[in-house]
Symmetry: C2
Subunit: 462 residues, 2 copies
């Protein structure tokens, strides 16, 4: 057994218990009710880095939640790996669908995780995946095998758009200078088949408000005679897709790269079972843009989804009211050449333009970020692939993900470094959903694989 | 000064204070959290009837909230007036838009109500209007001028569909036998121009649920590849109206009576200022079915409105989620010949049929009721008109209302009696909205006018 495997076996109970303690703190960045817990989590991450042996750790104030920065410089002439992760989590609602409370972690076995998985909000996204890096670092310090310098930057606003991180990165280029950025905030194909995410979608997230009459009205007395903001909002949302599920915003597709048939054929080789996909979601059929298959719709194509909608009476029973206002949260996933700020502007202009007379419309941009593609011939990609190959026994497959980590494009711009996305989560981990979990196998495999990335990255950099 | 005017002047402070006490009890029938208060309100109404001099009062149990029944029989050979009203109220939300708490009544003056108006949920709809009848009865007993028999039937489920009232009426035809039914649960044109409601729309109220994937999903990983229940619900709602704002449900208009151009010309004579209407609602333009004007759209035409919609993340900030489910509450206002149960079936069948593959749809009927038209040559209508003419100095105008009091059609069917809708509220009273109020003028004028209805109804019945 390799020394790292032995170390993981000896310390695995402690590794699991430490993560469980971190998961108990409800660091929901989207809801100010949890702001004290978000701060407490930053403190806990700082202590973890110190305990792991990091020789400099600080909590950096920002206009929002703090960033935990750590560094361990062994030789200025050696390469530097910058590890990014986030300690904030998604809101846990709908709470009633959790089988155990989101902030009371428990280990349960599942079909995919016979060795058990930790069920808790943030277990995979991203506390669990971020903590693998701290434990891998602990091993390298303990075994005196750290082959290069390392920096940690763990933020608390990833789930709400990383605004303060942008602010921080723009102001700290030399502090953050590095040769590669390493992130575990994505997934892999399966526990038998590792993969490396080579593309991410960008994001534009907006909130819209439609106002009709200046007060809620009795639907009997006014129904049919004034614009009903909910009906109008439904109509406006419906009009954003045509009958082929293409998005109708003028200019939306202008910078969308059309992949060649060769590239699409290459993508189609990734293992995918439409039957299993439908079965897992309990749906009769998939749904999406004409002319593209599922794995294209959720990766190389931009999309528009309503993430939340509300208006009028939503309580028990019936109320015959015409609401004064209706609201929706709408996000667009973008592909690499679509600029998120330009798309936000196109959306805003279009959405206001399609409002019928009789209502007024406001569009409030929430946040966004650029898409990203990383080349598979870089030293970082090769090092990651070698690491996975060694621990899983098979090479990793490059995949384009539909998700967004907006700061990846920012890192490239500000820090001039490529990012390597070494994810150890699975699609079935239910991140952003009730019953989020992270396999014990995945957690420990991550801790085992990461030191190999350092080793090969330094070797290949020579 | 007439004896009734004198009596009202002498007792008006007590009349106002008694109503204020009744308004303090939050009898919200739609929300089970208030069920104890609804029961308390029934008890308070019973005591009021006893105190006013009614010689038999009882609380009648039903499968739902109780009905307060009272009667005062002076001579079996004389006509009997059955007064109907309701002691339950609409939910008060959105609470933040009330300028004073909905269940802490206060008197404030407004432009329309220089003599003051009572601001509270239920002040007009219907506690205030119902209580006028109890005080008018008190006067007739006190002055020994009651010219006929009277029965009271005050229910607690009007705002949620009067299910228990139907049950009660079907089982108590002889107990409720009467010559005319008198209701104050509508409005009049203005404090200078009384009107009598001669038509009511029917109602079908349903709740729909659209289910996509079996759990909430990350919109980055699944966006564009599965049917998003909110987008689908928006599309389905949008499709319920065509480009002329006609309702697209097959068969929906089959029994809709087309009024002759003479009738429409007659309707157009009712005083109406489109400018004032738009100004009062702060809207740039009205909106509705092509080919009809505002006063037709909200009275002689059936309509479909979403009364509430919800799904996905509706909290603070942003959550990139595809919801598993989306919901809407939808009501249709119907014209007299449309059967509400048939329309509910047409809606259900159509709504399920337009669901795209990839989602499942449920439709849950909430409640409904038939529309109603009353002839203006009846004794009841003539008596009401004479009463208004005497107290306001001008005759009342007959108007068709867009609202629904579903039990009016039921009364005609079960009790074989016509209903007279003597409303004293105003459109601006904000019933079903925040800051509901009822003018002191209107309240006292109602108490003054009602005994004259009794007088003329008995005279004209001879």
């Amino acid at each position: 057994m390799s020394p790292i495997k032995t170390y993981v076996q000896e310390h695995k109970d402690r590794f699991i218990n430490e993560l469980i303690e971190l998961l108990k703190i409800p660091s929901v960045s989207a809801d100010t009710a949890y702001s004290h817990d978000v701060i407490l989590t930053a403190d806990a991450v700082k202590v973890s880095l110190e305990n792991a042996g990091c020789n400099f750790v600080e909590i950096c104030d920002t206009p929002g939640y703090p960033i935990v920065f750590g560094e361990h410089i062994i030789d200025k002439n050696l390469p530097t790996v910058l590890v990014y992760g986030h300690y904030d989590v998604q809101p846990p609602d709908p709470l009633e669908l959790w089988t155990s409370p989101p902030f009371e972690p428990v280990i349960k076995t599942t079909e995919i995780h016979p060795e058990g998985a930790i069920f808790a909000r943030g277990s995979c996204d991203d506390k669990g995946q971020m903590y693998m890096h701290i434990k891998a670092f602990e091993y390298m310090i303990h075994s005196n095998s750290l082959p290069c310098n390392v920096k940690f930057m763990i933020e608390g606003e990833e789930e709400i758009g990383s605004k303060s991180l942008s602010w921080f990165v723009e102001r700290n280029q030399s502090k953050l200078s590095c040769d590669v950025i390493l992130i575990s905030d994505t997934g892999m194909i399966s526990n038998q088949q590792p993969s490396i995410t080579t593309g991410l979608r960008g994001l534009s997230y907006v909130e819209v408000e439609v106002t009709g009459p200046n007060r809620d009205l009795h639907s009997g007395l006014y129904g049919g005679a004034v614009a009903n903001p909910i009906n109008v909002l439904a109509k406006m949302i419906a009009s954003l897709h045509d009958e082929n599920n293409h998005i109708t915003i003028p200019g939306f597709y202008d910078n969308v790269e059309e992949l060649s048939s060769e590239e699409r054929a290459e993508m189609a080789k990734a293992p995918f079972s439409l039957d299993n996909y439908k079965k897992a979601l309990d749906i009769e059929t998939v749904y999406g843009e004409s002319g593209y298959v599922t794995n294209e719709r959720n990766s190389i194509r931009p999309t528009l989804d309503v993430n939340g909608i509300w208006g009028g009476y939503t309580g028990e029973g019936a109320k015959t009211v015409i609401a004064s206002k209706a609201y929706a949260k709408i996000s667009m996933r973008l592909v690499p050449d679509q600029d998120w700020e330009a798309i936000t502007e196109l959306f805003t202009k279009h959405f206001i333009s399609i409002a019928p007379a009789g209502v007024t419309v406001k569009v409030k941009p929430h946040h966004g970020g650029q898409g990203y593609v990383t080349p598979i011939d870089s030293i970082g990609y090769k090092a990651a692939n070698k690491a996975y190959t060694e621990t899983f026994g098979v090479p990793a497959i490059p995949v384009r993900s539909g998700g967004s980590i907006p700061i990846v494009a920012l890192f490239e711009k500000e820090l001039k470094s490529k990012t390597i996305l070494m994810g150890f989560g699975l699609d079935s981990d239910a991140i952003h959903s009730p019953n989020e979990h992270f396999g014990i196998f995945n957690y420990l495999k991550g801790i085992e694989t990461i030191p190999l990335f350092y080793k090969y990255f330094v070797e290949l950099s020579k």
